[in-house]
Amino acid sequence: MSSRKYDWIGTLGTIWATAISHLPWRIRLSTTPELLQVRNLKTEFSTDQGAVTAVDEVSFSLAPGETLCLVGESGSGKSVTALSIMGLLADNGRVAGGSIRFEDQDLATLPERRLRAIRGNSIAMIFQEPMTSLNPVLTIGDQLSETMILHLGLTKAQARERVIELLTKVGIPRAAEVVDDYPHRLSGGMRQRAMIAMALSCGPKLIVADEPTTALDVTIQAQILKLIRDLSAETGTAMILITHDLGVVAEMADRVAVMYAGQVVEQADVFTLFDEPKHPYTTALMRSIPHLAGPAGERLTAISGSVPSLAQMPTGCRFHDRCPQAMDRCRDDRPELLQLNGSPDHTVRCWLYDVPVAKVLP
């Protein structure tokens, strides 16, 4: 009977949970802490022609276990965004503004020494071309155990055991032999598997993958994408996946940020983005790619012109000179990121959706 005395506590809990689940999305965010929060990121490169801004006002966040795809064409700033997060910008590049909060630290202002403790440990990166990111004179085993000895304090023998385990896990046959092979002995697909094993070696919370399958053949790409999907489901690792391929986005993303000329122009969950794209650039991009499913022979709608160069950004909206729906104000006024009515998780940087109450905080 005494237990009933405290029933009101349980009831209160239920009321509390119900109340929370009915709160607007923005407020609810504060109860599930984001793993990564990029706010107003601005990255500059100093060149002979002066400073050019490669990434401007880029904001997004990532929950634990979530896969965010950054999609865009060359020069859209997607790779620079990744390198800014990793603190791996070239010598002439620097984060000129904004913040990159990872858990409770701002990566943008963290000293290199502290950043190095995070990189390869809590955040790992997978690059496009594994041959250039693996050291050709070290064996696969040496390279993979290096991070584990450094970050996890394993002995050489322990690390070697763990490497063989990891190589097996990423589907490399004869892992016990491959561990002593040099990178050039492996095929492109196998090298990318080894890179994935290396990224996983310290059990990271976040993996940043920059075009991980672009250099691979389509049947090998399918293998690697499946592997990445299975592993991230199993380990619960969050991922930022950078790609130019909308097909890869459709297969992999939970959420998508479409980038154009250094800015995020639209952000939504993957189904909303493909079913109801709002930004004229997103729509045009989707109409310009050929599909395998669906009717053949329909003419593709090309986007006229080409991506602007960083040194000569158009005024106003950066897409206005290629946009079929451009209005007068698009030429002069820079659109802000607007929140769409009715879908709090769908934002778009376009004046077409400028409804007075819908503005999102920067």
Binding site: V218, Q221, A222, S288, L292, S306
Partner: protein, 331 residues
């Protein structure tokens, strides 16, 4: 049926592997191994396959940029594999090529106008002035303004450069253009521009294309018929509709399944993801070259090379798939 413009018959291109100080030949890379197909006037024949399948070598052999090891390439009935250099030179005006990389295929030191006029002058078709006048016409045909004639290749974007590459191939009014991965190096939004341009030019000038690509989307969009290659061999030939609606070779089916479709509702579709890597063309498997990765391989596949059937949807497989399987049309 009209006579084929181009007939490729049992084409082989082997590259020797040399070793040691005496450069002794210790083996051969079978880049193209017994390939046959026809190209009809006015059509686009797509050649699709992954890296190392021999599609580019086949394209280069058609233009005799590679001398075939064996087999013949008949253009309007003449075997160009055995022609003298002089006769071949005259024939080259009919056979042109568009390359993958518009950055490395255009001489950076020569203005666009001179680049375009050069083939006309070299083949003694026209004098300098007339050739330049023609260049001014053609550059507009490919959708570039005339003022670009005075620019250098580096001043142009990738898409614009590929337009110049296409314009240059058009200068001699060829009958056949081999396009080797013409859109692979271009941004997504530019690929559609170039694919549409190629289609428009074909309609306008009655061109015949051999379109080589690893991109299934582009291949489906532009091709009338498709040749699927794997490890130097032809796996399957068919109309675009037949190949995509009902592939007969297990490899073709796997290739189509592997394509990441830009539709998130299809992400969990049932499909086969093949294990393993493409074997080396220096040591191709015995029997059917695909048997090492084929889900339906039997004992015979390991020993006997399957021959291409001679029906209207030829396939080189001991156990072809029934053509009734249709791809779901979604979206």
């Amino acid at each position: 049926m009209t006579a084929p413009l181009l007939q490729v018959r049992n084409l082989k291109k082997y590259y020797p592997i040399r070793k040691g100080v005496m450069a002794r030949t210790v083996g051969q890379v079978r880049a193209v191994d017994d390939v046959s197909f026809d190209v009809y006037p006015g059509e686009t024949l797509g050649i699709v396959g992954e890296s190392g399948c021999g599609k580019s070598t086949t394209g280069r052999a058609i233009l005799r940029l590679e001398a075939p090891t064996a087999g013949s390439v008949l253009f309007e009935g003449t075997d160009i594999a055995t022609l003298s250099a002089g006769t071949m030179r005259r024939l080259r005006t009919d056979l042109q090529m568009v390359f993958q990389d518009p950055y490395s295929s255009l001489n950076p030191q020569i203005r666009i106008g001179d680049l375009l006029a050069e083939p006309l002058i070299a083949h003694h078709r026209l004098g300098r002035a007339a050739a330049h006048a023609r260049a001014a016409e053609i550059i507009q045909v490919v959708g570039l303004p005339k003022l670009y004639l005075n620019r250098y290749p580096h001043e142009l974007s990738g898409g614009q450069r590929q337009r110049v590459g296409i314009a240059r191939a058009l200068m001699l009014e060829p009958k056949l253009i081999v396009c080797d991965e013409p859109v692979s190096a271009l941004d997504v939004s530019i690929q559609a521009q170039v694919l549409n341009l190629l289609k428009d030019l074909q309609a306008e000038f009655g061109l015949t294309y051999v379109f080589i690509s690893h991109g299934l989307g582009a291949i489906r969009y532009i091709s009338d018929r498709i040749v699927v290659m794997y490890l130097g061999k032809v796996m399957e030939v068919g109309t675009t509709r037949a190949i995509f609606a009902g592939p007969r070779h297990p490899y073709t089916e796997i290739l189509l399944d592997a394509y990441p479709e830009a539709n998130p509702h299809l992400r969990d579709r049932p499909r086969i993801i093949v294990e393993g890597d493409v074997p080396s063309p220096a040591k191709p498997p015995a029997g059917c070259v695909f048997h090492t990765r084929c889900p339906s391989a039997q004992a015979i596949c390991r020993t006997e090379i399957p021959q291409l059937t001679s029906d209207d949807h030829p396939v080189a497989c001991h156990f072809p798939l029934s053509a009734s399987k249709t791809v779901e049309a979604v979206g």
